[in-house]
Amino acid sequence: MSLKTEINFRLNGRPVTVEVPVTMKTLFMLRDVLDLTGTKYSCGEGECGACTIRLDGETVNSCLMYAVDCDGREVVTIEGLKTAEALHPMQQAFVDHGAIQCGFCMPGMIVQADYLAENNPELSREEMCRGLEGNICRCTGYTKVLDAIAAVVESGQ
């Protein structure tokens, strides 16, 4: 068994303490240790974006990052977007615009979309496309994904 170590970080707004093998990637800590299965494994090598999370506000592929590197940092996963009362506006826009089919890539896609919209209130369609370049969807052809993001940007939410 690999060497384990204890780390402390904030996850979806709450402090957590967890013991993880030093070789474990953040994706598998989230899924297998913390039971947050919204973040998906699809390629495991940073090519598809299904495992996208926020780390100190930036987006990262959690499959490429060691879990121990979460120590002392702020992590937000797809589960952390919605409030008790309502879906996050980006999540709601994806639902309303029919952007979700099988949905497997969507947690990563929505986290990335939220990051893009949050950091650029005048996000253009071209900038959206560039910002989503690292997120593969096999179902939708992206059109409705872009429509959903555009609606959020337009509403200023």
Partner: protein, 776 residues
């Protein structure tokens, strides 16, 4: 007071048909709450891992699993002898675990262990000694007289063979003024479902297997899985958790599924097998590669005379459902255009390549890549406006194709005119052809293609039906138990919409149950663009029965004639005025709590009126057929060979729009898969070994590469379809690639018969053309 006032307001008649209805599964998928099969855990569950051969063709001289068996945490190890004789597959040529290696991903051994780490370690402890054999890596090589034979029971490496002849070919050739004659080489691609393949199996102590599966055809799946385990299909329960994509890939049984079950039987514990992305690439089924020799003739006035197609297909190592695709190729060799004489011959050849499966478009993608380019070539030879040539030969309503497809409602004319007008096709096509040889790095091109596909199911089994059970409870909540599977495509939203339309209840008051073969009735599965048509008809018929029962009860209670009653907004209303008569849930409780209690529970089995296919596979096999036309506009960078698709104009006969949002989503997604086929996706195989088993090297298109889309839905009002609808989801994948190839020809004057049109291929062809021009 308020309540009475609200109740007093009449409810207007509205319709949901053609509206935008949200998918009921979308909110949980957006928040990460949905537990896909990939996310599932069961108590005591073990992880199953497979040892793949990693070589294309070999004898297994010896296999030693003793060290793996001894490893702490390992609960079971299986090898070929554990599955010996348990043959499965379309022609029973496959087994879960192999005693001889016929392709790279062949399953040689499997382990079940407490963790993935231990399972991986156990695999490394298995010692296999192989004797490599010469392999066959193309269907042409498989036909050579000195070719090694892959399976003892299939001489000359011949897998399935199909042929169809109609009319006098030599007379038609003689009568032709123009004949185009081309060899198209279409390549291997794979589905790239975002959720990798996964199965969880568990036996109860009565010997009944429960399998959590990604399957998109749960009932035939039982039949196909049973022989791989030596059990009765009736002793299998299939549960379908949410899946991360399917696209035809889950229309079969693959070895990892019986392996999960065999490991579960051996260990007495639930076993989950889940693929890594690399395993997924190496082990997944492919869209079948083929060499298509096609000839098409026409007379000087532009009337088609004949079409012949000699097709050689790369079966791969085993016969899954994939090698049956020539049936669809055969049926779609004509049918968009009137071709009086047809000569079709297809032979699938065993090779040591990965084996072919079903993939959205099912053979028609390959055929249409050839037929739609030959239409373009003939128009040029005739010096005729391509649109005029297409319109002249387009099939019309009431015609029957030589393959016996009766085109009851045919809207190809309208699809052609709509797509051409919306894109200004004729003008641009002429203009770009003139600009082709002028100076300039970037060349624009426009291309048109059309296709026909079955759009009312496909009666390839004895029944093409779907069962529905519908109940309405005391709170006016509706449960629809349907055989139709939800694989992300949106059938739940369609059924919701249809049932809400008939019963006048809010969409959110309807629950769909369709994930357990012990509960849901028979259905043939998600394939052949059949689900909206077949399951939609079933849901409507069940809802209409329930509606009648409810309105009859309302008549008994209120004395108002049933003809003047309607269900709207959760109320029984007077049809003419919309005035509320009684709240639906109140009526339902009154029906229930009376001396002769009555519950609303209805069943339906909808069987389309299509003809079962005979031994020759020729019949009016679908209850409807539909056409689609795509016009693609491209910019070709002649320096780099990059083809940028700027815009796609689509006109498709959908019969009638049911859920507008779902329909658009299917067309958009279908185009995206077809674009990848046309431009970038390719399984690069060298001696049967996949060279690019990762997204870095296998290019799936992402958001920046998507063109602007202009979608037009032609409503031909199909007399058999639910509210007039036809199936729709495969046509966009089928028709886009040749539209792009025709557009690239328009831009460059170069004909590409071998997709994908990668920058390397296109720039090389441009360079060769320029060299040839310099030399002349």
């Amino acid at each position: 007071m308020m309540d009475q006032k609200v109740i007093a307001l009449p409810i207007e008649k509205t319709t949901l048909i053609g509206q935008r209805v949200k998918k009921p599964d979308a909110p949980d998928k957006a928040t990460g709450k949905t537990r896909y099969i990939n996310d599932m855990l069961l108590p005591q569950m073990l992880i199953g891992k497979i040892l793949h051969a990693g070589r294309p063709h070999a004898e297994i001289v010896s296999i030693d699993v003793s060290a793996a068996e001894m490893l702490p945490g390992v609960h079971g190890v299986l090898t070929g002898k554990d599955a010996a004789g348990l043959k499965f597959g379309f022609v029973r040529d496959n087994v879960a675990l192999k005693e001889k290696v016929c392709c790279e991903h062949d399953e040689v051994a499997a382990v079940a262990a407490e963790t993935e780490e231990i399972a991986d370690q156990a695999l490394r402890l298995i010692k296999v000694q192989y004797k490599d054999l010469p392999g066959i890596f193309s269907p042409e090589d498989g036909r050579k007289t000195d070719a090694p034979q892959i399976h003892d029971s299939f001489p000359e490496n011949k897998s399935l063979h199909f042929e169809f002849r109609h009319g006098d070919l030599s007379a038609a050739e003689a009568a032709s003024d123009f004949i185009v004659d081309d060899v198209f080489r279409v390549h291997h691609v794979t589905h790239c479902c975002m959720g990798t393949s996964c199965a969880i199996a568990d036996f109860d102590d009565n010997g009944k297997l429960t399998i959590w599966s990604q399957t998109q055809y749960p009932y035939n799946y039982k039949m196909d899985l049973a022989p791989a385990l030596g059990i009765h299909p009736g002793d299998i329960r299939v549960i379908q958790p949410p899946v991360g994509g399917a696209f035809g890939s889950k229309l079969d049984v693959y070895p990892y599924e019986p392996i999960a079950a065999l490991l579960a039987r051996k260990t007495g514990r639930p076993v989950k097998v889940i693929y890594s992305r690399e395993e997924e690439f190496r082990s997944a089924p492919t869209r079948q590669a083929a060499v298509i020799h096609m000839r098409t003739g026409c007379t000087r006035d532009g009337t088609l005379t004949f079409r012949s197609a000699d097709v050689l297909l790369d079966n791969g190592a085993y016969t899954s459902w994939g090698p049956t695709i020539p049936v669809v190729m055969m049926r779609t060799t004509s049918g968009h255009y009137r071709v009086p004489v047809i000569d079709f011959n297809a032979q699938a050849i065993y090779t040591n390549n990965p084996y072919a499966g079903s993939f959205r478009g099912y053979g028609n993608v390959q055929t249409t890549f050839a037929t739609a380019q030959q239409m373009d070539m003939l128009a040029e030879q005739l010096d005729m406006d391509p649109l005029e040539f297409h319109l002249k030969n387009a099939q019309k309503s009431g015609e029957t194709t030589p393959q016996k497809a009766f085109l009851r409602e045919c809207a190809l004319d309208e699809c052609l005119s709509t797509a051409a007008q919306a894109s200004d096709y004729t003008k641009k096509q002429k203009q770009y052809a003139l600009e082709r040889d002028q100076e300039g790095r970037y060349k624009k091109g426009i291309g048109l293609a059309s296709a026909i596909h079955n759009a009312g199911g496909a009666k390839i089994h004895k029944s093409d039906g779907c069962g529905t059970i519908l109940k309405v409870d005391d709170y006016a909540r509706v449960t629809v138990i349907t055989g139709a599977s939800e694989i992300g495509q949106g059938i739940d939203a369609v059924i919701n919409l249809i049932v809400a339309e008939e019963l006048g209840v809010p969409l959110e008051h309807i629950t769909i149950v369709n994930n357990d073969s012990d509960i849901a009735p028979w259905d043939v599965g998600v394939h052949a663009s059949r689900t909206t048509f077949i399951a939609g008809n079933g849901a409507r018929r069940a809802a209409v029965q329930a509606r009648k029962q409810i309105l009859n009860a309302a008549t008994r209670i209120t004395g108002m004639p049933a003809e003047d009653l309607d269900l709207r907004g959760g109320f029984v209303v007077q049809d003419s005025s919309g005035t509320k008569v009684i709240k639906l849930e109140k009526l339902l409780r009154r029906m229930h709590f009376q001396p002769e209690p009555e519950l609303v529970m209805v069943t339906d089995y909808y069987e389309p009126n299509s003809e079962p296919e005979g031994a020759d596979h020729i019949s009016d096999h679908s209850a409807a057929y539909a056409h689609a036309v795509h016009v693609a506009e491209v910019t070709v960078d002649t320096y780099t060979g990059e083809v940028k698709v700027d815009k796609v104009t689509s006109a498709q006969d959908v019969g009638r729009v049911i859920n507008l949002m779902g329909l658009e989503a299917q067309i958009e997604g279908g185009i995206a898969i077809g674009l990848g086929y046309a431009l970038s996706e390719e399984m690069r195989l060298e001696n049967g070994m996949l060279q690019n088993p990762r997204f870095r090297d296998y290019k799936v298109l992402t958001a920046p590469e998507m063109p602007q889309l202009d979608l037009h839905f032609i409503e031909s009002d199909c007399s058999e379809g639910p509210y007039g609808a036809k199936g729709a989801s495969e046509l966009p994948t089928i028709v886009i690639a040749p539209a792009i190839a025709n557009a690239v020809y328009n831009a460059t004057g170069i004909r590409f018969r071998n997709p994908p049109l990668t920058p390397e291929k296109v720039s090389r062809a441009i360079w060769e053309k320029q060299q040839a021009a310099r030399e002349n």
